[in-house]
Amino acid sequence: MSTEIDIAGVVRRFGPHTVLNDVNLAVRPGELLALLGPSGSGKTTLLRLIAGLDQPDAGSIKIDRADTLHAHPKERGVGFVFQHYALFRHMSVFENIAFSLRIRKAPKPEVTARVNELLKLIQLETLAGRYPAQLSGGQRQRVALARALASQPRVLLLDEPFGALDAVVRRDLRRWLRQLHEEMNITTIFVTHDQEEAFDLADRVVIMNAGKIVQQGTPIEIYQTPTNAFVHEFLGESNVLPAVIRDGNVFAMSGFPLGAASAPDGEVTAYIRPHHVVPIANPEGAWRVQRIAATGAHARVTLGRNGLTIEAAMTADALLDSQLAPEKNADASFTGGTLFGKDGEGRIRLLSVVNPSSVVSEAALP
């Protein structure tokens, strides 16, 4: 049976700074949960509180319904993988993994058997005698994981597990970790500031900002219905345009229509992702193509109008068909977007209105 964690009303202050401010979170048994947020949002602090490396100023953390306040890390059954691995530099790979077993005075044959089993799991059987400094980043990462798993923890905590690795190793390890989690079904929480990593790996994502949980849900839920402007912006780039709603129509402040919204009149801010901007080549168009950048399968088009610039994203194929060219004019339509109030809250969906005067070719749609 997998372990659940219940975090209620947790507050942590460092001097005058409130790093965690009334955090409530229920971690379900066996789930792979991502804590996602910018640096300084308190996600690592929360992880350290769960591990018992730090104590909350208020609130409670329960692991399998037992309060952990004052419980030594030893009693919590938590495995922790540090951002920079924190491998014991004066011990071989074997001894690093064996550490928690030796601390618990496990019999020698048992230690050897368990360490060998883990070495096999992380595919480093041949490097058991090496020192951490003689390993690559990805190998160190796997040793750190094996070390954390050695004493069969109930919960696995990972702090920026792939932060220090290059892109290819990162992708491989991510898949491997996902697979490992499916095999072992151990409740796992990892911290990351990389939105793509969180969405790719986690069952559920918790977004943190300034010491608070802003939103939690499955990757799709969060991407489709971001709770406020912070989450929307954090999940990917947007064109941010001051806008106004008049009789169900939405206009950019500089005067052109963006689409429709079923909301009362008022000033809002429109967040439109580049792939929701569809430029159409038109010599009479109001926008001017300033720049086209193609990066492999994708292309970005920068459009300008009266000092305002917006970015559009499309496939490279669609770009070829579109006949867009730098310093030529174009029209732009918006196939979607999100509106937030001036305070960044109160999400309203921006509905696209097909401009009858423009002909949108099928190929140009993202």
């Binding site: 018992g52 890390p73 920079h84 014991f88 530099r89």
Partner: protein, 274 residues
């Protein structure tokens, strides 16, 4: 190319003049009257006493400074407290103060007319012109050696591994003996070697507090002086050769251990790459 060769030549000439030549002279003078006289000078009861005294002083001063060095590095590297920088500066004090002043200070404190002199003589405790004073002086002078070697290492290594050990279930003592201490062991080892060499060779401070009673409060380095001043040149050099041998032994020991554990030293010293 020419410049490089000239620089190498200058460096070699300098080394020969200041390091190799004195060493050769010490040994050649010590053995000038034959090997028998050499050993006779060393088994002289007064010299034997000096050897014994030197060993006793080092045996107290070095462990004391080893323990102090570990504690200081622990405090300074792991905690941030008021007076931390003052402590770091204080540790360097014995380096910047002349040993003679250090000895004099001790006389002013513990001497018959010193601050605690009256109380000490009332209780029949003798520090100045006796072993306790010499140990104190040596400990003071060799105070920074271990700490200076270990503190930067401890600061560079940080706290991560200790925290990892906590999450793996280790308690305070287990962390200290299995993680913190082994992590620092090469720094400690160099510190102890240097500290020991200096403790055995210390002259200035010990000279002031010892009273130089030949055969009683003489260390090896003091014996060299007293023998030389009483025109027993060959005996003086024989004793000096012992100190020179100690220095050579220290170097050989250091090099041998570095060579034997080169893989591990390399692994421990290399900074984590990201």
């Amino acid at each position: 190319m020419a410049v490089k060769n000239i620089l190498i030549a200058v460096a070699l000439a300098f080394m020969t003049l200041f390091l190799v030549l004195p060493l050769i002279i010490v040994f050649s003078e010590a053995l000038s009257a034959g090997i028998g006289t050499y050993f006779n000078a060393l088994i002289d009861p007064n010299v034997a006493d000096a050897i014994y005294l030197t060993l006793v002083i080092a045996a107290v001063a070095v462990p004391a400074n080893l323990i102090f060095g570990i504690m200081a590095s622990w405090c300074i590297a792991k905690f941030d407290f008021v007076g931390r920088n003052v402590l770091i500066t204080l540790i360097d004090l014995p380096f910047s103060i002349s040993p003679v002043i250090a000895g004099l200070l001790e006389v002013l404190l513990f001497g018959l007319n010193g601050l605690f002199g009256g109380w000490l003589s009332d209780h029949n405790i003798q520090i100045i012109f006796a072993l306790p004073g010499m140990i104190l002086a040596t400990t003071f002078v060799t105070f920074p050696f271990v700490a200076r070697e270990v503190i930067p290492l401890a600061q560079e290594q940080g706290n991560d591994e200790e925290e990892a050990a906590v999450t793996l279930g280790a308690g305070g003592l287990q962390i200290f003996f299995r993680i913190s201490l082994p992590k620092l062991r090469w720094g400690l080892f160099y510190g102890v070697l240097l500290c020991n060499a200096r403790a055995m060779g210390e002259f200035g401070a010990v000279s002031v507090v010892s009273g130089k009673i030949f055969g009683q409060t003489d260390t090896l380095s003091l014996a060299v002086e007293s023998l030389y001043e009483s025109y027993e040149i060959q005996a003086a050099f024989a004793v000096a050769s012992l100190l020179a041998l100690l220095a050579l032994l220290t170097l050989v020991l250091k090099a041998a251990l570095e060579w034997r554990h080169r893989d591990e030293i390399h692994a421990v010293r290399r900074k984590r790459s990201t």
